[in-house]
Every structure is written in C-alpha cells, then in structure tokens.
Symmetry: C2
Subunit: 405 residues, 2 copies
C-alpha cells in the first residue's frame, strides 16, 4: 500500500464532467489499494471572476478580505470532488486549508506554509477514505484565511506529501511531462522520464512553466519525489527526483529559453567599490527584478555594467539608469529590448569539460552572435537577438543529441 498525493489544476477540474473524470482516476488508484490525498485548485476562471468582483468593490482590495473571497474557489471544488467520489462509491471527505490545518504566516495573498497538522487527514486515510484538500490556502495563527499566491496549489500538494511522507506527489497538468525543450519550438523535443530537482529548477526559472518554482524548491528540500503527468492522457510522465546516478549519463537534460528579456548597459562607469549597488539600488527600489548581471573591466579606469530585466520593465529601468548615469558621471546608457535568453541545463555538465565549447561552436556555425554569457553549476545561458530564438534552440537540441533517448 502506497500513499500518493495527487494535485489537479484548474483546467483539470474546470467542469462538472472533468471533476467526474478526476473522481474516476482517483477511485481507480484507491481501488488498487493505495491511500490517496487529492489537492485541487479552483475551477478554471473562478479565481479571476472572484478577483474581478473584489476589484469592483475596492480598486485595491484589502488583502485579508481578498483571501477570504478567493479561497472560496477551492472550497467549492473540494466539496464537489468529494461528492463525485461519494457518488461512485468511493468514500471521501473534503478539507479547507483551515480544516487541515495548514498553518501559514500572515502575509495575505502570498503566505508561506509554516506547519501542517496531518492528524485529521491520517485518521480519514486510515478509515479508507480519500482526503480532498483545498490547494492554495491556509490559515494563520489568529485563524485568518490566507492564500499562497498563484500556482500555490502545487506548493500545497508538495507540502502535504512531505508532511505525510507520501511515496510520490503527482502533479496533473495539461502537458504529459517535462520535455527537453518546448515542443512548439522544436518538434523533435522528447519527454524526459526523469530529471533532477536542480535541473527542474533551472528549467522552470528559465521559462519552462510546467511547475511553480516554489513547489519544486519545496519538493527538493523535503526530498518528495514529484511526478508531472497529464490529466487527460495516460502515461508515466516525468519523475523529478534526487536520484542523480541514473540521469548522470546525459550531459544535458534540456534547453530552456525566455522570450521576455531586455538588456541594459551603462558604460564608462568610474570603477570603484560599491558601484554595483549604486547602479542596481534604484532598479530594486523601482521593484524591477534583475535576471542576468555581467560586469567587464574596460581598458581605462572605468567599467561596463550590463544586466537584463523583463521586457515590460525595460523603459522604467532605462529611465532609472539614465539618472544614475548622470549622478555617477558615467559615459552612457545603451539598451536592447529585442533579445532572448537560451540556456542549456544539465547536472551532467558539472563533471564534463567542453560543454560550453560545444554550445558556442554550434551557435557560431549557424552565424548566431552571442551578446551575453552567464553560467552556473548546471546551466549555461546566452543572450542572442530574438530573431535567432528558434534557430538557437533547434541547433542546441541537435548538438546535444536531445532527440535521442
């Protein structure tokens, strides 16, 4: 007998028929002798409807009250799924975040889970009941309803799996696993049977939005085996795990990319200590997130400083940087909001030299000019003109033979 935590997102429970299909899937696993905890999101569209209603009352809704409103979305789904399960003879019991209880801090709309009381769920599981838990929500020390922020249902599922030491946590989505890259860009992209947590983190943060990053971090931290599968088709999906040995043979696991980048350079900056914070301080103050950062020493006593931001923040960042340029008596600010970032990701590159060289040669052969380079332990990212995105992804996919198992 294994204990599984299943998570179904808004699309998977988007209608009465789909909820009934989820119930059948859960019943089959339960009938096979497993203990099942199901985490569900609100029916697709419901959270947006509730937020719109709240904004009609108050342009910037009181966050505590917003959480009270939007948490009803998942509350409805857990009860409906429990009814669907009871209806087909599979005893089930629903739980709100507060009923579990999933204790969080008091940061409304973006709360973090502090502790999970497994007592009630365990009692129901031991009574052969399926436990259906509302994702995305919790309750703070004072009993206020909190939510974990968008995509928080993944985090709920992983946290429950950790608390219950589940055998696996299954995240059901509308894709059937994690791919070597986006199949819409490279049709030869291949589903990975396994991927490590670290690789998944790099893939996720680089634009492969299969899972919410926080849930992957959480799963890695508590060593919860995570499996991504499709709600709508059969298949084993992709297992995200620590078991590095089996995947070590592959040098590179996948290629991630991000279309929404823009780069900014401030050049001729007098090179003295503390200059980086002088440049990035005003950017942070403007609530703009910075992605890649590169600093080069120029030939004189000045330095060039380059960073990338989300394309939506480009103009604001440029304005702030031009002010800094004047203050620091730097030479000039240049920028480009027509760039993209392409990354190769793989734990294998740790122990293999020459990966970077293979990457750069493959791109050069296609005449793709590299504008920036940044590396980490298990990732190499390059910035290129946006017109080269698809070509770069396909070239690298072939260069690292990712279409071959």
């Amino acid at each position: 007998m294994a204990l599984y935590v299943y998570k179904f997102g808004g699309t998977s429970v988007g209608s009465v028929e789909r909820i009934k299909a989820v119930a059948e899937k859960v019943k089959a696993a339960h009938d096979a002798g497993n203990q099942i905890v199901v985490v569900v999101s609100a029916m697709s569209g419901e959270t947006n409807r509730l937020i719109a209603l709240a904004k009609e009352m108050q342009a910037q809704p009181t966050e505590r009250e917003l959480d009270v409103v939007i948490s009803t979305g998942e509350q409805v789904t857990v009860a409906l799924l429990s009814m669907a399960l009871n209806n087909i003879g599979c005893a089930a019991c629903s739980y709100t975040g507060g009923q579990v209880k999933i204790l969080t801090d008091s940061s409304h709309t973006k709360a973090r889970i502090l502790r999970i009381d497994e007592h009630n769920m365990r009692a129901d599981l031991d009574n052969s009941k399926v436990v259906v838990v509302a994702g995305f929500q919790g309750v703070d020390e004072q009993g206020n309803i909190t939510t974990l922020g968008r995509g928080g249902s993944d985090t709920t599922a992983v946290a429950l799996a950790a608390a219950l030491t589940a055998d696996e946590c299954h995240i059901y989505t509308d894709v059937d696993g994690v791919y070597t890259t986006d199949p819409r860009v490279e049709p030869k992209a291949r589903r990975l049977d396994k991927i490590t947590f670290e690789e998944m983190l790099e893939m996720a943060s680089q634009g492969s939005k299969v899972l919410q990053i926080r849930s992957v971090e959480f799963a890695g931290k508590y060593n919860v085996p995570l499996r991504v599968l499709s709600s709508f088709t059969e298949g084993a999906g992709t297992l995200i795990t620590y078991e590095e040995s089996e995947v070590e043979s592959a040098l590179i696991s996948g290629i991630a990319f991000n279309r929404d980048e823009a780069k900014l350079t401030i050049s001729g900056v007098p090179d003295r200590p503390g200059i980086a914070s002088k440049i990035l301080g005003p950017i942070a103050d403007a609530n703009i997130e910075v992605d890649m950062i590169i600093q080069n020493i120029a030939d004189d006593a000045t330095t060039d400083f380059t960073f990338t931001v989300h394309r939506n923040d480009y103009q604001r960042a440029k304005t702030a940087l031009e002010l800094t340029c004047t203050e620091l008596a730097a030479k000039k600010v240049t920028g480009d909001d027509g760039i993209v970032k392409v990354s190769i990701v793989g734990v294998g590159m740790r122990s293999h030299a020459g990966i970077a060289n293979t990457m750069f040669q493959a791109l050069a052969k296609e005449g793709i000019n590299i504008r920036m380079i940044s590396t980490s332990e298990i990732k190499i990212s390059v910035v290129v003109d946006e017109k080269y995105l698809e070509l770069a992804v396909r070239t690298l996919h072939a260069a690292f033979k990712l279409d071959q198992a």
Copy 2:
C-alpha cells in the same frame, strides 16, 4: 453608544451596487457613534447556483459536502462588504461562521446554534471596527462546516445579538415592516409600529413570511428586541418586543392567512383511546406535516376526525388515510384541497371576550361559510372555501378596524 446587529438578506446584497449601498448605511450608523455587527446572506441566486452545481455532481449531495459548497456564498459576501466599508474609510473585518466561532450541532444543512464565542468580535468592536459576519453558517465540535438551513441568516443575527447583548437586532428586508395583513390582498393594510413576539410567531406561522420563525423564537427566548425594516427605503419599520403594555390597547394586531391548505376527514371511527395516534401515525411516517387537528364526537359511539395538511401532500395523505380507514373499520374518508385558513392574531384577545363572536358575525354577514375553527391563546383560525380568501381577509380587517392606528 449603542450596539446594533444588522442583517441584510440576499436581495439587499444582490449586486455590487447594493453592497455599496449597504456599506453607506452601515457607515452612517457607525459614524453616529454606534457599534455595528452586520450579518449578510449570500448574493441572491448564489445559493441556488451552488446547490444546482452540487446536484450535478451527486443527485442527493452528501450533506457535509453540500454545507462546504453553499457556505462559500456568504463567505464571498462578508469579504466584499468589508472591502466596500474599508473603501469608504470605515474599518471593517469579515468573519466566517467558523471564525467567530458559531458552534453548532452536527446536523448538516439544518444545524442548530449551541454557543457563540463573542471574544474576537468584541475585540474588533472595541477597536472601532465594523464586524461583518457570514449568516446561515457555523462549525461543529469537530470543525466541520455546518449550515442552519434556508433563512438561517436571521437566526444568526438574533443569536449574535443575544450573545453580544445588543440593544437591537435590525432585520433589513424588501418590505418596510410587519403589516396588519398582506397589502396585496387588503390595500388598506397598515404597517405596525410594534408587535409582540407571540403575535409575530403566530403571524409568521400563518403565512406572513417576513421573518424566519426560528429567529423569532430565538429572539423571544433571549429577549432580543427585533426590528424589521426595508433595505431600500427609510423608515423605523416594526419593532418586535415583549413590551406588551403599549400594544395592549389593540385587540387584534393582524390577519394572517395560508392559501396552501387541504383538509381531510375520516368519519365514523370507533371511538376508543389511542385512535388519534392510529390515524396520525401513518401520516407522520410519510413525513407529512399536519397543521390543524379537530375531533368531534358524533352521535353514536364513533367519532369524526379532521386535520389539514399542505396542499402538495393532499393526495399522499388521502391514500394513507384510506388505508387506515379500512384497518380501523371506519365509515369513510372525505377531503377538500380547495380550502384556505384565515387567522386573527392579537395578544389583546386574551383579556377580551367577544372577539370570536365579532369574527364569526362579520364572516356570516358576508355569507362566508366556516368549515373548521381552531383557537389558541392569541389566535383564532377559520377554514373557508378558497374563493372567499380575499373577502374574508378584507371583512375581518374592517371588522377589527385595523386600518386605523
């Protein structure tokens, strides 16, 4: 400084605009220096929408899960109203039934309130906050969400008023008070400034559905002054109170009626002890509610037994009674589903003789034949042919001079 509990029903909070109007009304009372607790229902139509959704999942929804689904209706409204109040500078905080907490028994969909913890609300009131509480819902000892049944928001309001020893509990509805009779039947009907709890109970149980009966019982038991007013127009409404002295001068306070009655008679029943339960037992077993009951001794050793039921239950009751007729070797069963009940209600009649006579004479003068009579301490009911309903109500309204203050 007075403490008021206000209750607004589904129609009063049926749209964004109406919730904002409620917020203005509440703010005005709060600005005038009062402490305000507001109880709200789900936005009109929402509870029915949720029940329909549940029935799509399961023809007879698991009651525990049904409560989880439908309680979200009020949860949304309390948060929206709190936002509307915060938006106009009136600090407010929402509470679900579980957050208050309103402890109930575990009878899902028809729970009864056992205890109310006033601690959290009192702290907010002392901090000059308006407290907004979800009506109709509570939580049992085990933390399961319960609901009080349709109309239960009135009960919530009265129970909170009792727990907080509020100065008055205001029930805002779509009518501006309690009338001497239904103005749609008698245009001369007059709004009563005051009515006693007992009269209100008789009026309510006789078809004047301004308030839920349980809430009136509750208010009477805990001596909570209850006021019925309109959400949409100004006015003092009707105060429901124990202060009998001031209303004593009026003999009759109002005329109630019920269109949905049917009567059944079993005649020639051998008259022996226990016969009533032999007759009514099978009716109760069939879950049919009996209203009036009359038994007459006939001239021989047999008795005639007559009772009324809801018109929808007439055929089922008749079938059951015919079976009983054969078993008891009674003479026959007769019935009539074309009757109505008209009642005069007033605490004044306790101490005044001749009220019944005035009633019977007035009806006789109009040629209205009385088919059944039943009396209580503060009420006289007659059953007449349904065609006489309006005439009977208007005749009695005039006979007891109810159009005059």
